[in-house]
Amino acid sequence: MEATTLGAWMATGLTLFIFSFLYKDNPLFKLAEHLYVGVSVGYTIVKTWDSVIVHLIYRPIVDQGEIGLLIPVAIGLLMLTRYVPKAAWMSRYAFAFIVGLGSGLAIPRTISSFILKQVEDTVRPLLSMAGGEGLTFSMNLLNPASNLNAIIILIGVSSVLFYFFFSIEHSGPGKVVARTGIIFLMIAFGAAFGYTVMARMSLLIGRLTDLIEFSDASYGRPTLWLFILTVVALVLLGRRASSAPSQLE
């Protein structure tokens, strides 16, 4: 059997086993689930070993004599002292190095990218200066840079920030602002949920596209045969489960 055909049978079988959970929890689903976890972990370990230990550590040190690499290797090895209670304190040096370096790299860049740039984009002019026309106001909702959208964003940001400001009771005019904030939040959650639904449906489309492709005779029709096998297995497992309590009685 060719590798492609074998792969098609494996992919089809595992897809159908996972889909069988939609009917009910069963051993076929558990088998596919455990295989997925095992293969993912195994693949990651092998790739990490090959890319890091062999290509980035062993070969440069042994073949090219880059002795300086022993310093990061030593820092890395300190982390493993967590497994030896008496020497566990040594791992703190490694963690301190990583946390310090990571924070130093991430904090300035994150502030620049996610706070300053976004504040700059939020505080946009509500009126524009256009050539000889003087001050203008663009109403185009479809243009993200229009003045109307700048006002909507300003109202949205202000009202949502006010909604999360709990030091003042949300009553009177404050209630109106907080309610406006809730409306903006709901729209954002709705958009996020809509995109999530689209993404999940795309995954389903991807699997069904593969199942259709693998129903071809050139692969030996794995979709058809494995679908029958899955259904028969589910029926047999269902019968065994229903007869088990009666045997106990």
Partner: protein
């Protein structure tokens, strides 16, 4: 039990079946609904189209097989476009679990377009460190990737001629399914080393990336299977994404109908219960 109560307690497997059929039938019998190109996808296409021949295009394939249905068609369409434009393609991944898939994908499209490894494209593979790899590449690409995926030394590869760091990249696109992905490429890459950046992502993370698009931090965004279908249409080579659009529309319609029906039955039941209490 009233009709509304019966409908609200319907077996969830019937709903699964309806959604399954709404997905399967359009895949078997496509109708070819029109695909409208959004400005965020077109801006990526236009930027790629404006790049001079032999410009360096970096494609970071930051996803694994779990996100393949959405991001694989995007990657294929982008690579076809880049190869057709005769750009030098430098591909890599920040996700160790996606390494094999990324290599297979690049090799497949390169063979289809008649491109040569080392001369027209290179796959750098994966390097540990996540976001630190981007910083490292910004300083010296050859330190971050001393060898390519096949183990060949990166220094001296013709496709990387004149490329020392990220500053020498004409355009970079990250196809991200999470972190590290588009945001990391902006924060640690574009913001620091000043190259143009576009993004492609799964539908789940797309809404969170629109603020980056609006503020110009990324110049375009291909969102989910829909974005992939738009790019396939622009490139003129319709593939899996376009084929899936009918099914996507049908399932969305089915979900909208189901949500509307649920609300209808819920309010109808509440109205009936209110009348009983009176």
């Amino acid at each position: 039990m009233t009709f509304s109560e019966r409908m609200l307690k319907i077996d969830r497997r019937i709903i699964f079946l309806v959604i399954g059929l709404c997905t399967l039938l359009p895949l078997l019998y496509p109708v070819g609904l029109p695909i409208k190109i959004s400005p965020e996808v077109r801006s990526i296409y236009d930027y790629m189209e404006a790049l001079p021949e032999r410009s360096v295009f970096l494609l970071s394939i930051d996803f694994d097989p779990a996100s393949k249905p959405e991001l694989h068609p995007q990657a294929i369409a982008l690579l076809r476009h880049a190869f057709r434009k005769n750009l030098r393609v430098v591909a890599m991944t920040l996700w160790v679990s996606g390494t094999g898939m990324a290599d297979q994908l690049l090799t497949q499209v390169a063979q289809e377009m008649g491109k040569e490894n080392g001369k027209d494209y290179v796959f750098l593979g994966w390097s540990p460190g996540g976001t630190a790899v981007i910083i490292n590449m910004g300083q010296d690409l050859y330190t971050a990737f001393p060898s390519d995926y096949s183990g060949k030394a990166t220094k001296g590869i013709p496709v990387l001629e004149g490329v020392q760091s990220l500053k020498d990249i004409a355009y970079a696109i990250s196809l991200g399914a999470g972190n590290p992905g588009i945001e990391a490429w902006y924060v640690f890459g574009k913001d620091k080393y000043k190259f143009e950046l576009g993004g492609g992502c799964t539908g789940v993370i797309a809404p969170g990336l629109y603020p980056l698009l609006r503020s110009g931090q990324i110049n375009g965004l291909i969102g989910g299977l829909r974005g992939a279908a738009e790019y396939e249409s622009l490139v003129g080579q319709k593939g899996r994404a376009v084929a899936g659009m009918d099914a996507q529309s049908a399932t969305h319609f089915a979900i909208i109908v189901l949500v509307a029906m649920c609300n209808l039955f819920y309010f109808s039941l509440r109205h009936q219960q209110g009348q009983r209490q009176v």
